[in-house]
Amino acid sequence: MKVVACENLIKTQGQLKTLNDVSFSIEENTITGLIGRNGAGKTTLLKILAGFWRGTSGDVKVFAESPFNNLLVSANAIYIDDQMDFSTALTIKEILDEAGRFYEKWDRDLAQRLFDYFSFHPKQIHQNLSKGKKSTFNMIIGLASRCALTMFDEPTTGMDTAVRKDFYRALLKDYIAHPRTIIISSHHLEEVEDLLEDVLLLESGKKHLHLPMDVLKEYAVGLTGRTEIILQWTYHKEIIYQKNMDHGTTYVVVKNDYFPLEQAKRLGIKISPVPASDLCVYLTNKTKGGIDDVFK
C-alpha cells in the first residue's frame, strides 16, 4: 500500500515555486531519505505531507487522504524538526505525558527509557534546553509516538557525534521491532546511507531522482586519468562532475550505463565507485566544477 503519493505537486510561496511538479510515491514500511541542498524544498514537502501547509496545485495523498486539515493524517503522521515548540508552562516530563495521551500507539516505556538514557531532568523546560538537547528530546517524541508515518526533518541538528550515532541506532532498532514508514531529511547522507532503503533527491523544488539505495550506489562511476584521454572518452557522455587535478589529470563522474570499463582500465584510467553522498552533491551542483568555478 502506498503511504504517500504525490502527483504534480506545486507549492508557490510568494513568487517562488518551492516545489515544482513533484511526483513520487512511498510504499508502506520503508525508510526513505529526503536529500537535497539548502532550499531544495525538503521542509516544504514534509510540511505538506504532515498537513500543516497546503499544496498550491497537484494532488497529495497520505494514507489515501488529502493531508491538509485531516484528523486521520494528524493522528497517524508526526513531523519532527528543530523548530518544534512546546508550552513553556509544562516541564519536559509533562510534555511526554501529554504526548502519550494524544498518540494512541505511544510507547510510554520506551519514552521513559530514552529520557533517562539521554539524562534529561524531568523538571526542565523545553525552551531552556540546548539546541542538541532539544533535537534529542524531539527525537524521543518522534520515536515513541510510533506513528505510521514518521517524518524527521534534519533530526540531528546540534546533536554531538555520540548522540547522532545513538539516534540512528535507536531509530533502526525501533523500526525493525515496529515497522512503519519513515522519512528522514538530511544533509548528511553519508551518516544515514546504511539506514536508508530509498533516496528521494530534490533539487530546486524538483524531483531529481527517487531510487533504491543500492541502485544509487551503482548509479555513477568516477574516472581519473590524463585530461586529454578523459575528455576524449567522455566526449558524448553526460558529465556529472569534473575536477582538474594536478599534473594534467582530471577526475570526472559519469553515469554508469554500459561504459566500457575494461577498455578504460587498459588505457590507464582509474575507475572508482562514487559514494552516494558525494554523488548527490555532484548531481545538485549548479555548475560542473562546484565552488571552483566561482574562483576561475
Binding site: N29, F52, R54, L71, S74, D85, S87, F102, A148, R180
Partner: protein, 247 residues
C-alpha cells in the same frame, strides 16, 4: 498497517484538558489584573459636598473597574491563545483546525467562567478590605445583604459578558492571523469606524451597547450574548479553517 482512528469529540476533550494544563499563564495574568483592579477600586470616585457646616463625603467603592479590567483580560487572553506561538504548540500533537478551534472555544468558556467567579468574589474582597483597612463600616452591615440568587445572577451576567469579549477577541485574533498586514489594519479600521461614528453623531454604537447592557429580561440577555458569542466563534472557525500552521 493499522491506523489510529480518533473521533473529533474525543480529541476535543483531550485538547481541552491539555489546554487547561498548558495555558496557566492565562490564569496568572488574570490574578494579576484583578489584584491591580482591586487596588484601583480604592482610588474610587469620591464626591463631597458641604452646607451649613456639615460635610458629607460619599465614596463609591464600585466593582466596575474590576469587571472592566476582567473584560479587557478576556479580550486579550482570547487574542493571545490564537497567536502563532500558541498555535504552533497546539500543532505539536494531534489536531486539526476545527478541533483546535472548538477546544480553544471551550477553554475560553472555562476561562470566562473562572474569571467571572473570581471577579464576583473580588467584589466581596473589596468590601472586606474597605471594612478593615479603610475603616469604612458602612459596606458591611445588616442592610447590605445579598441573596444567593443575586450573587448567581451577577455571576451569570459577568460570565456572559466575559464570554462575549473572549469571542470578540478570538475573532479579532483570527483575522489578524490571516495576514501580517491585518495586525495593523484591523485596529486602524476599527478605530477609524469608531471615529466616523462619533464625528457623524450616529447612535449606532450606543444602540449596540444598549442592546446588550440594557436588557432586563435574563432569558433574553442570555440569548443575545450566547448567540452573538457563538456567531463570533463560528466566524473565527470558518476563517481559520484554511490557515496554514507552523511556518
Amino acid at each position: 498497517m493499522s491506523l489510529s482512528e480518533i473521533s473529533l469529540g474525543n480529541l476535543v476533550k483531550k485538547q481541552f484538558f491539555y489546554k487547561l494544563n498548558a495555558y496557566t499563564g492565562v490564569f496568572s495574568s488574570m490574578v494579576l489584573i484583578q489584584v491591580i483592579a482591586i487596588f484601583f477600586s480604592f482610588g474610587a470616585v469620591s464626591s463631597g459636598s458641604g452646607r451649613f457646616g456639615v460635610q458629607i463625603n460619599v465614596d463609591y467603592h464600585s466593582a466596575d473597574t474590576l469587571i472592566i479590567f476582567t473584560m479587557l483580560w478576556a479580550f486579550i487572553n482570547a487574542v493571545t491563545i490564537i497567536t502563532k506561538k500558541y498555535r504552533d504548540d497546539d500543532f505539536a500533537f494531534v489536531t486539526n483546525r476545527v478541533s483546535n478551534n472548538v477546544s480553544n472555544m471551550l477553554f475560553l468558556v472555562a476561562a470566562s467562567f473562572i474569571g467571572g467567579v473570581t471577579a464576583i468574589l473580588s467584589t466581596f474582597l473589596i468590601r472586606v478590605i474597605s471594612y478593615f483597612v479603610l475603616r469604612d463600616h458602612s459596606v458591611i452591615g445588616y442592610d447590605v445583604m445579598y441573596s444567593v440568587q443575586e450573587i448567581f445572577s451577577g455571576l451569570l451576567v459577568v460570565f456572559l459578558y466575559l464570554l462575549l469579549f473572549c469571542a470578540l477577541g478570538y475573532l479579532a485574533g483570527t483575522i489578524s492571523q490571516l495576514h501580517k498586514s491585518f495586525v495593523v489594519l484591523l485596529p486602524v479600521v476599527v478605530m477609524g469606524c469608531l471615529i466616523m461614528i462619533v464625528i457623524y453623531g450616529s447612535e449606532v454604537l450606543l444602540h449596540v451597547i444598549e442592546f446588550y447592557s440594557k436588557e432586563t429580561n435574563t432569558l433574553l440577555f442570555v440569548g443575545k450574548t450566547v448567540i452573538t458569542s457563538f456567531l463570533l466563534f463560528a466566524g473565527a472557525i470558518i476563517l481559520s479553517n484554511r490557515l496554514e500552521v507552523r511556518k
